[in-house]
């Protein structure tokens, strides 16, 4: 982890795109402007954070803006981690995809499945994603189940005995 000073320095270098810096429990987090995500990630890649370990979504209900997309970056040479976080509103959440358009140097092919999962679970639309479909839920599924206001147990289970009833309710 970059220490608190290191985080300050990185934040300063990235300039206006950084909205906030948090250093909590030895974990450095940069809150950034959603429109600058590609630029910030490629700048961090040049600093050595070349491995995108994880992309995942969070719902910060009841705080606004509610949704968050978190990028966990790793520098394998210095064994250093940094977290980049963007916050998005629930109405029309959109962000640039960091999955590449073909070229390995510019993009992060590893984000492909993970961004699809974030879309599936939270409804964040990734602009420019090569394959923007649901990944874990059925393709005709409605709603984004990991949002906090999606009810637990809200999923009807189709049994043969109540099939007719279930289909009726659907129409």
């Amino acid at each position: 982890m970059p220490d608190a000073t290191g985080l300050e320095l990185i934040g300063k270098e990235l300039g206006k795109a950084v909205l906030d810096k948090t250093f909590f429990r030895e974990r450095a987090t940069l809150d950034i402007d959603p429109t600058a995500v590609r630029a910030v990630l490629s700048q961090l890649r040049e600093k050595g954070f070349a491995f995108l370990a994880s992309v995942h979504g969070v719902d910060y209900y009841p705080h606004e803006p509610r949704l968050g997309v978190i990028y966990e970056l790793l520098d394998m040479r210095r064994v250093d981690r940094i977290t980049v976080r963007v916050r998005l509103p629930t109405d029309a959440p959109e962000i640039d995809s960091v999955t590449p358009d073909g070229d390995y140097g510019a993009g992060w092919p590893t984000a492909n499945h993970q961004e699809r999962e974030v879309y599936d679970m939270f409804g964040v639309v990734f602009r420019g994603h090569p394959d923007p479909r649901r990944i874990l839920m059925p393709e005709d599924y409605e709603g984004h189940p990991q949002r906090r206001d999606f009810p637990v147990g809200g999923e009807p289970v189709l049994f043969t005995r109540d099939e007719a009833q279930w289909l009726e309710a659907r129409e």
Binding site: F24, A50, A53, S54, D59, I70, V79, T83, P109, T110
Partner: protein, 429 residues
């Protein structure tokens, strides 16, 4: 023996054999394409649905494969068939009740799932884990790694057509499950790791049985290697098939034995030691070219290293408590309940509501048998996590399947899926 035409004494069969084109499949196709287009013929791609219920997909993985003859041109994994919403379920349970739920994600490496989750919660709640608990965790993690590799070895060699290794592998895994049963009462999904330590100390006799196991396991692994390493079929199927270089693997986010097979010695146990892994001496097996043989050899070599770690941890097992003495997080010992009012209150609060974790986010990454297993936990100050996300290595590594097998034979795809070792419980969560 027919000797019509050609050199005298050479059978037709032998001549046919000598004429087999052994150049890479992609070149053959390209050449054939040229010939065909000259006479106005063209080839169509065959789209084949492979899975989800196929024994060689190691679970319910569905692959949409486009074939040109026997060569894979394009491959798309379709997943989600065993999605059970574990991450959503975890948000509705208090922290200590989440452990058995997340253990069921990657069902072959349950100790690792629990470890990643406990690690994240311990970071958030700032709980210190006693040295003995850390060593006990290491022992169980490494036992679990061996068990997971044994299942992988058995099933993947089964895909290549050999049954015996599967039976031998399960025989040794049985010894490990017996040990798990001894320490926790369960054979799988043991719920042995708790936030702050482990649930119980190891029982009398466990150490003796574990020593018997560590003595027998390297010998048995030698036996597997004696069967496999000189087996012509295994070598033909694995050597040189579907390699992928380290740089490409890194861009795809692949970690674990797959990355090490390509020559990059990245292992979180060495790079960022957790749970006192820095106390032990062990080597990291690496491959050279990153083909299926290297993937196989790396995992088999890891079994020996895991045994070494277990032996060291057992030799150096420190005395002391096996779980933190922080009563706000860990249950008080049973005997205190009869005498101490405070212990009774703590017990009651922990069992009914669970402990509260202060606001914050943590990401805890550990080295699972398949790569970096990261657990992201967001706490909102209540006794239930606001978000639990597992960065499961199977899910991420699966993306590398398509670049690995494109342009090679469909038979090699089967071997590659086996060597990739995806656990669909972890992929779909």
């Amino acid at each position: 023996m027919s000797t019509t035409g050609g050199a005298p004494g050479v059978s037709e069969y032998r001549r046919g054999e000598q004429n087999i084109d052994l150049s890479p499949p992609a070149e053959q196709i390209a050449r054939r394409g040229d010939e065909r287009s000259e006479i106005g013929q063209r080839e169509e791609l065959l789209t084949l649905n492979f899975g989800p219920h196929h024994p060689a997909t190691h679970g319910v993985l569905r692959l949409l494969v486009r074939l040109e003859g026997e060569v894979v041109r394009d491959l798309r994994p379709i997943i989600g068939y065993v999605h059970t919403g574990i991450e959503k379920t975890a948000e509705d349970k208090s922290y200590w009740k989440v452990i058995p739920v997340v253990e069921r994600m990657d069902y072959l490496s349950y100790y690792f799932n629990a470890m990643a989750f406990c690690g994240a919660v311990e970071t958030l709640a700032q709980v210190d884990v006693p040295a003995r608990a850390q060593y006990l965790r290491v022992i169980h993690l490494e036992l679990n790694r061996i068990a997971s590799h044994l299942i992988w070895l058995g099933t993947s060699i089964l895909d290549l057509g050999a049954t015996s290794i599967f039976l031998y592998g399960l025989r040794e895994r049985e010894l490990i499950l017996d040990l798990f049963e001894m320490s926790s009462g369960q054979r799988m999904h043991t719920r042995y790791f708790q936030v702050g330590g482990v649930i119980e100390d190891i029982p009398p006799g466990f150490a003796k049985k574990l020593r018997e196991f560590t003595k027998v396991m390297p010998k048995r692994t030698d036996e597997y290697r004696a069967i496999l390493d000189s087996n012509e079929i295994v070598l033909q199927r694995l050597r040189g098939t579907c390699p992928l270089d380290a740089e490409r693997l890194l861009s795809l986010g692949v970690t674990g034995p797959l990355l090490r097979a390509a020559g990059n010695p990245w292992d979180l146990r060495k790079a960022a030691p957790y749970s006192s892994y820095d106390d032990f001496e062990f080597k990291i097996p690496v491959g050279t070219v990153g083909d299926n043989y290297d993937r196989y050899a790396c995992r088999v070599a890891e079994i020996y290293e895991s045994v070494k770690i277990i032996e060291q941890a057992l030799d150096g097992l420190p005395e002391g408590p096996f779980i933190t003495s922080d009563r706000k997080v860990a249950l008080p010992p049973r005997h205190e309940l009869a005498t101490s009012m405070e212990a009774l209150i703590h017990h009651f609060k922990l069992v009914t509501e669970g402990f509260r974790v202060p606001d914050g986010e943590a990401y805890c990454a550990i080295e699972s048998p398949r790569g970096e297993l990261g657990c992201f936990v967001r706490a909102d100050g209540s006794s239930k996590p606001a978000r639990v996300h597992m960065r499961d290595p199977s899910f991420v590594n699966l993306q590398a399947l398509s670049p690995m097998v494109e342009g090679s034979y469909i038979a090699d795809m089967i071997a590659t899926v086996a060597m990739l070792d995806p656990i669909l419980g972890g992929v779909d969560r």
